[in-house]
């Protein structure tokens, strides 16, 4: 099929729009699509970067303690699944609600999880991020030690591994 706009090149971009129930289709070549403002044609047409990001987010297993209540943002109503599906966050409060679940994703995207740049001034909001509970911190610590222990075993450093094992037992008690 040739491009509907220039009639010269092969149409490679097929756009189907449904507006108020009326369907319209256009078939364009890459150049005409770009010049008509569809350069970023994958956005809004189902194959956006958001989907890739959704894939990113979707890989994050939901921690046990986050299932059940509180799994929707109280301000905009987004669920974690909504965010994963759209690859987009609903509002500022979503970041606070799903802060823990977002950490692995942020780590993968940016390699870091802590802001160091310009800070919003006094007019900016500083709504507190939910602090982790003592229980969560303890679990994290155990998880980190367990990882170190496994590494020590893999390196056949059994003395170190035993030390770590005792430390884990102490925390679990």
């Amino acid at each position: 099929m040739l491009c509907q706009n220039c009639g010269k090149r092969e149409a490679t971009t097929h756009i189907k729009r449904v507006v108020n129930g009326e369907t319209s289709e256009s078939h364009l070549c890459a150049e005409c699509a770009a010049s008509m403002g569809y350069a970023d044609v994958f956005s809004g047409f189902g194959l956006s970067f958001g989907d890739l990001l959704g894939g990113f987010l979707g890989e994050t297993p939901a921690p046990q303690n986050q299932l059940g209540t509180g799994s929707r943002c109280r301000k905009c109503g987004s669920s974690w699944n909504d965010i994963v599906r759209a690859g987009k966050v609903g509002c500022a409060d979503c970041y606070r609600t799903f802060y823990d679940r977002l950490q692995p994703t942020l780590q993968r995207i940016h390699g870091r999880i802590r802001h160091t740049g310009k800070a919003a001034g006094s007019a900016g909001t500083h709504a507190p991020v939910q602090e982790k509970t003592a229980e969560e911190l303890r679990e994290e610590k155990i998880e980190a030690l367990r990882k170190q222990m496994n590494e020590a075993v893999a390196e056949q450093n059994f003395e170190q591994a035993a030390k770590l094992r005792d430390e884990i037992r102490g925390l679990e008690a």
Partner: protein
């Protein structure tokens, strides 16, 4: 008033322009993805009031829905807005300074996308302007911000500084010698990305590429800018060396002169042909093969885009009409240049 893109800036033989873009959102409203048109209009009005509350007329207000498609796409061709911003225009607005160096897209992916453009390599200057406007807005609006993860943005890829710094580069010699893909692989390891002139997924017409920082969380604005600047200077040096190598070849010099010949005599010039030839002529001008001002070529590259020609003529032209208008404008521009090398 002279538009910003007509000047030739620092490293202007290779660097066309510098852009700093800051994303900001208002704490009180959901992000645009969860706003209907009415909600978007409210956000736009609140930001407009904040911008204009000091009674200054620095910014022109443009309701995106009031533009013709050509006018909207022309703004994208001039890089004042993103291509995406031209598609669903209801509930979106643009604030634009007279010289077009500062534009603020409202309700694009984020409530606020503040963008500063400068010619040549001018990252510090551009950031300085953006930072001042941002600080002014911060005093008048409640930004969505979190001490741990910085400015909150609709897409987590922008969290942190929410700053995207980019430079637009003309890399005809690296492109011709097939070195862009290896360059792309290298810069991606350094937290930067290189792509076509019109952003994600766009083709690099006329060997124009943009390189920008990818990472925004855990890095300061200054560090990101320094990083980009250092890499850009290296690429500029590589491109210059590659151009000099290329132009040792008589056949390449011939190609450049022929390109100039076509541009100064063609009666019909398609957008693609123009970009291809203008790229060669620009390289010739940059390396002193002949006397032709880079400013002139830069201006043509911006003004000869299809929707910009439509918008300038106030109507939708057929491709053939446009090709004729383009050929005439290019011919006139090239022939009126003084030249002592012919």
């Amino acid at each position: 008033m002279k538009k910003w893109y007509i000047e030739k800036g620092d490293q202007g033989d290779v660097v066309l322009s510098t852009r700093i873009r800051l994303a900001r959102n208002l704490e009180a409203y959901p992000f645009p993805v969860r706003l209907d048109i009415e909600g978007k209009k409210k956000v736009c009005a609140e930001i407009r009031d904040a911008v204009q509350s000091d009674g200054s007329n620095t910014f022109r207000w443009i309701d995106m829905a009031s533009l013709t498609p050509s006018q909207a796409v022309s703004l994208a061709e001039r890089h004042l807005i993103s291509p995406e911003f031209t598609t669903d225009r209801d509930g979106r607005a643009l604030l634009l300074t007279e010289d077009e160096s500062v534009s603020i897209m409202l309700c694009e992916e984020d409530h606020i996308r503040l963008q500063v453009m400068q010619s040549g390599l001018a990252l510090e200057q551009a950031y300085d302007i953006a930072d001042k406007i941002d600080t002014m807005l911060d005093k008048r609006l409640q930004y969505a911000y979190d001490e741990r993860i910085g400015y909150l943005t609709q897409c987590p890829t922008n969290l942190g500084t929410a700053m995207r710094a980019s430079v637009m580069l003309h890399l005809p010699a690296l492109d011709a010698t097939g070195r862009i893909s290896s360059l792309a692989a290298t810069v991606s390891k350094l937290g930067l990305t290189i792509r076509g002139a019109y952003g994600e997924g766009s083709q690099a017409r006329g060997s124009i590429f943009q390189i920008s920082n990818q990472i925004t969380l855990g890095i300061t604005e200054q560090a990101a800018i320094d990083n980009l600047r250092a890499i850009t200077l290296q690429i500029v040096q590589q491109e210059r060396t590659a151009q000099e190598q290329l132009l040792k070849n008589e056949a390449e010099i011939d190609k450049i002169w022929r390109a100039r010949g076509v541009l100064s005599s063609a009666r019909l010039l398609s957008g693609d042909e123009f970009m291809e030839l203008a790229s060669l002529v620009r390289m010739g001008a940059a390396r002193g093969v002949f006397n032709l001002s880079l400013e002139k070529i830069n201006e043509l590259i911006v003004n000869m885009q299809p929707a910009t020609i439509n918008a300038a003529n106030g109507r939708n032209l057929t491709p053939a009409q446009r090709d004729a208008i383009r050929a005439e404008a290019v011919r006139t521009a090239i022939l009126t240049q003084g030249d002592d090398n012919v």
